[in-house]
Amino acid sequence: MTNLHSSKVLSVKNISVSAGDEPIVKDVSFDLYSNEILTLMGPSGSGKSTLLRVLNRLADLESKLNVTGDVTCCGKSIFENYSIYFLRKKIGLVFQKPCIFPGSIMRNVLFGVRHHLKLDRKEADGLAEEVLKKAHLWDEVKDRLNKSASILSLGQKQRLCFARVLAADPEILLLDEPTSSLDPHSTHEIEEALLEMKQTKSIILVTHQLAQGRRVSDRIVFLSSKEGVGRLIEQGSVEDLVSCPKTKELKRYLISEV
């Protein structure tokens, strides 16, 4: 049951994506409400990541992809009346593989936001501390902020990327299987951070781990690939889908994951 009083932040209406003439995702529609964690779940190859890249228009870059259907954010279509840069500031994306820019931890955290805002020394430090705390990385790096970021562990690097996205204060957060290659401790930290983040932001999490989906998300959108094309199978709250799956694809998936 969606909490009724919260407003619709993002709605995806019959989005289809095809590479040349060969479809990847077919006719997917779902809504994202404010202060909610929505999980896109399904076996790999069901177009989850492609769909995510449509939401912050990274898909525009790959010339061979063409996207039909519409996505509206706060009532306005993201393809027409949004400057692409403002859109990406508003909708943050955390990639699966952490990508650290050369330079110190501090420089990495502020890498995105310093292109959007003019921050003096004090504001920058304050902002960095704020987002590093939100990403549960502050205690592990607070005394070596000026050291090179490349010495961090994989889990720490991913949380640093998470902090970097948070620094621009996006309203919506997209995460593309953020913990798939991380150690349990980092995975737990990120999941904790996501739950805290729910108070102020709306989050779409892509994962193929059922356990993570159950632990973290409010609602689940289950995607699966039929004849090689990703389709929306079912969507609903965690309890509805897990306890009484309606479609056989979801049933087979639940059995294989458990």
């Binding site: 400057s83 403002f86 936001v113 959007h116 805002l117 003019k118 921050l119 504001e123 304050g126």
Partner: protein, 314 residues
């Protein structure tokens, strides 16, 4: 909420100050400056160099005698000089360049290899006028003494010019060939050696086939540089016009003074030619011929690279 509320209310920078990207504009301007210059140069060579071809047709290339005082222009002896000197330079430098490239890439341990390689790259950077100095002071008397039985006209001969060019392009050809040889991964060598092949067979069958395109590209680059070299050749070639030997393969011209296109262009005849339309056009015509030579060499280099890439994956 602390800093974050404050942050989101700050003036958002992402709105651009100019309607178009300034960097893009400047990059375009600078690219245009470069393109304009080089098109201007190509046009200059074509427009100013072509009248001589119309006036003399092919005899400008086939005729050997160049007497500008009676407006008779024949570039054959210079073309012959340029080709002979450049190819002889490659022939003289190749065995040594390849030999030392093989030595450093196949046999030398890494510690020594780094020193030899950086020393050779240093030599590649030595200006050509310094090679000219060495040529004039040491090579010229040497050639005059050693080849006395062939009764060389003087120390300044086509042979001297070829040797100077060979020494000049040796470092470049060697370091590029060595890069080509090092480009072949160590596995190839280990696999071949483990199959019981000798070092020679490993090199010939394991390493060489994959390195050939790189080596050919290195040779072509060396040839391009030899063709274009002016100052060192000007100092040691003797600058005698109209020296075209009757038979192409006789050794005699090697021991006589001669002239290449670059040594003619580098001389003071340019000052005399300016103002005389036909004479000037003949000089620029020489430049055009040189430009075509170099264009062919570069095209061959590109073709070799392209073929190399195609068969590398094939």
């Amino acid at each position: 909420m602390g800093i974050l509320v404050f942050v989101s209310s700050k003036a958002i920078l992402s709105k651009p100050t100019f309607p178009f990207s300034v960097t893009g504009a400047f990059s375009l301007i600078f690219t245009l400056v470069s393109l304009l210059f080089f098109c201007g140069m190509a046009l200059f060579l074509l427009i100013q160099g072509s009248p001589i071809f119309f006036q003399e047709q092919l005899s400008f290339i086939t005729d050997a005698d160049w007497f500008y005082r009676i407006n008779q222009y024949g570039a054959a002896s210079m073309i012959y000089g340029t080709i002979l000197v450049s190819f002889l330079a490659i022939v003289l430098s190749l065995p040594f360049a390849l030999g030392s490239a093989i030595l450093t890439s196949e046999f030398l341990p890494n510690s020594i290899r780094v020193y030899v390689k950086s020393f050779i790259e240093l030599l590649a950077g030595i200006p050509s006028v310094v090679y000219g100095l060495l040529g004039v002071l040491f090579l010229r008397p040497l050639i005059f003494k050693w080849f006395a039985p062939f009764s060389p006209e003087s120390g300044d001969t086509l042979l001297t010019a070829s040797v100077i060019l060979a020494v000049m392009i040796l470092p470049t050809v060697m370091s590029l060939s060595e890069d080509a040889l090092r480009g072949v991964s160590k596995e190839h060598r280990e696999v071949a050696l483990s199959l019981g092949l000798t070092r020679l067979e490993t090199f010939v069958h394991g390493v060489l086939p994959r390195a050939i395109p790189g080596i050919i590209a290195a040779v072509l680059l060396g040839l391009g540089r030899a063709l274009g070299e002016t100052i060192a050749v000007y100092l040691v070639i003797g600058r005698a016009d109209n020296r075209l030997s009757d038979s192409l393969f006789s050794l005699k011209p090697l021991f006589e003074a001669g002239q290449t296109i670059t040594s003619k262009l580098g001389g003071s005849e340019l000052y005399i030619a300016y103002g005389e339309p036909t004479h000037w056009s003949a000089m620029i015509g020489l430049g055009l011929i040189l430009f075509v030579f170099v264009g062919v060499i570069v095209a061959m280099g590109e073709a070799v690279n392209w073929l190399g890439r195609k068969y590398q994956h094939g």
